[in-house]
């Protein structure tokens, strides 16, 4: 299978091309500049592989959680490409991609959710495929749920931003921490592969970001109830 992977949920943007076992990738640290890089990288990778867009079998996209704007950039691009090319889309959890990229056997993936919160999920990796132990959630760092047992690798930017507060909650659950690990398009493509192969790809109209943080504004009634003004 030939799969295009897109991952722009953090400041580390990347695009990957999975070619029947071979992986090509482009990426970089470009906060707020995804629109300038993502599609040109995809075009470059295809050229490098001597392929056309029409040769793709599916698209994998880092669906979230992560920066809202970045999630929609990748999702909008995936929708546009997939609609134009009649391709299925698979949305992959960015925390699962992060866990795979981290390389441990038991990974607690944790990214910065801003507003004094983190996105967190836990995975056990079996034969290169993560199994979900704790599904993605958003929590204040000192109140993250603790995964069962020990021997967990803490991975992701959450540990560089909220390291101390996370350790308060996690105690001896973690045996190591890798803060400088990010979700990658290569991991997204790897995770999308079996799902596309099983026919689990979605119509592009159904490709949607998974924000996890769902409450983003107060209604007028809620503001008034909290003593606000009209």
């Amino acid at each position: 299978m030939k799969i295009l992977g897109l991952e722009t949920s953090s400041r580390r943007l990347s695009v990957a091309l999975w070619l029947d076992g071979r992986l090509l990738e482009r990426g970089g640290d470009y906060p707020n500049a995804g629109s300038e890089y993502v599609l040109p990288w995809a075009v470059e990778l295809l050229a490098e592989a001597g392929m056309a867009l029409g040769d793709l079998d599916g698209i994998g996209v880092g669906a979230g959680p992560g920066g809202f704007v970045g999630l929609r950039l990748a999702c909008g691009i995936a929708q546009g490409l997939a609609f134009g090319l009649d391709l299925p889309v698979v949305g992959v959890s960015t925390l699962e991609a992060l866990a795979l990229a981290a390389g441990g056997a038991r990974v607690l993936a944790c990214t910065d959710a801003r507003m004094n919160e983190v996105y967190v999920a836990a995975y056990e990796i079996h034969d290169g495929m993560p199994e979900t132990i704790m599904a993605p959630g958003v929590f204040p760092p000192e109140r993250v749920p603790v995964p069962p047992g020990s021997g967990w690798l803490g991975a992701g930017e959450g540990f560089s931003v909220y390291g101390e507060r996370l350790h308060e909650a996690l105690g001896t659950t973690l045996t190591a921490v890798s803060a400088d690990v990010w979700p990658t398009a290569a991991a997204v493509a790897r995770l999308a592969l079996p799902r596309l192969a099983r026919g689990e790809g979605l119509d592009p109209a159904l490709a949607a970001p998974r924000y996890v943080r769902d409450k983003v504004a107060l209604t007028t009634a809620e503001r008034l109830a909290r003593g606000g003004v009209r």
Partner: protein, 339 residues
């Protein structure tokens, strides 16, 4: 040539197909007004979240309506600014990727150019040059329009846009959000002149506007609460004050430019009282007034597709490499004409 237009700059998702030979074939708009109502205004993050759910369903509707296939599309035009950054980015990402996948040009379009040229989609389109009054919730501008991409700013609001003043005043009168149209309905049942509001900048020598003071004047009058009849009279007076200034300055702009055509575009252009006054006072001066069709007054994809078609016909579009940028702030006068 068939051009797809994609609009997502604020709280309406609009898609449309315009044919350079057959005209507007289909357009569909999803308005988020209901969704934002509970919040008392547009919540940008919620607007963006909704846009990304609507694009493909709307695209399928317009393709069906136009009896076209996606492979018939010759170019994808989209609103690149001005507008809400997050909302713009949704439409831009989708449109750029779609254009790339179809192997056709992607055309970033200025939202106000869309409004400005939308009367050209009407049955009796105006010829260039003309003066345009762009009046919406986000903008109040007078432009001299010599041709596609040849726009000279004559004057603009120094503070609130006219539509913004309508919405804010409606809120003060307890009409909810977005209250502009509700205020206009209430005004129709009231008597202007019983209250007296100022006509801001009516007699200044320039073509600029200012509407924020009106809102403050209304606030003072509302004070301790008003009876229903009083509210209607105040709404009528407010509407009269805004339209009087808009009409006077717009007609003055036409005469200053020694032209005889005025084009009115933007959401407030749907206001019936504004249309009445422009028509009668314009006729007295032999100035012909052009409006877009009512359904094209608010944000829509048709005007974006139409602009894209104008630009596509005027200039060879460049090679599509997929890099794009949105411009949440983008002065219309910075646009350059296709050569």
């Amino acid at each position: 040539m068939l051009v797809l237009g994609v609009e997502s700059s604020c709280d309406e998702t609009g898609l449309a197909l315009y044919s350079t030979t057959r005209g507007l074939l289909a357009h569909a708009v999803h308005s988020q007004v209901k969704m934002h109502e509970d919040y008392g205004g547009v919540v940008p993050e919620l607007a963006s979240r909704d846009h990304i759910r609507r694009l493909i369903p709307l695209l399928r509707i317009v393709l069906d309506e136009a009896a076209a296939e996606k492979d018939d599309i010759d170019a994808v035009a989209y609103t690149a600014g001005p507008g809400l950054a997050g909302a713009l980015l949704v439409g831009a990402s989708f449109a750029e990727a779609l254009a790339l996948s179809l192997g056709v040009p992607a055309l970033p379009i200025h939202h106000l150019e869309g409004h400005l040229l939308s009367p050209l989609l009407a049955k009796n389109p105006p010829n260039f040059p003309f003066v345009a009054l762009l009046v919406s919730g986000g903008h109040t501008q007078l432009m001299r329009v010599a041709g596609v991409g040849r726009y000279e700013l004559l004057g603009e609001s120094l503070d609130d846009a006219a539509g913004e003043a309508f919405d804010k005043t409606a809120k003060l009168l307890g009409l909810g959000y977005p209250g502009g149209p509700a205020l206009a309905s209430l005004a129709a049942t009231g008597q202007a002149g019983r209250y007296r509001l100022p006509r801001p900048m009516l007699h200044t020598n320039d073509l600029n506007f200012s509407f924020s003071g009106l809102k403050t004047a209304v606030l003072t009058l509302v004070g301790g609460g008003l009876a229903d009849g009083d509210r209607a009279d105040l709404a009528a007076e407010f509407q009269e004050a805004v339209t009087e200034v808009l009409v006077a300055k717009a007609l003055r702009a036409v005469r200053t430019c020694k032209l005889d055509r005025l084009v009115v575009a933007g959401g407030v252009g749907a206001n019936q009282r504004l249309r009445q006054r422009l028509d009668s006072e314009g006729a007295a001066l032999n100035i012909r007034i052009h409006y877009p069709e009512l359904s094209l007054c608010t944000d829509n994809g048709a005007m974006i597709a139409f602009c894209g078609a104008q630009r596509l016909q005027a200039a060879a579009a460049g090679q599509n490499h997929g890099a794009f940028a949105i411009r949440p702030r983008w002065p219309l006068a910075e646009l350059i004409a296709p050569s």
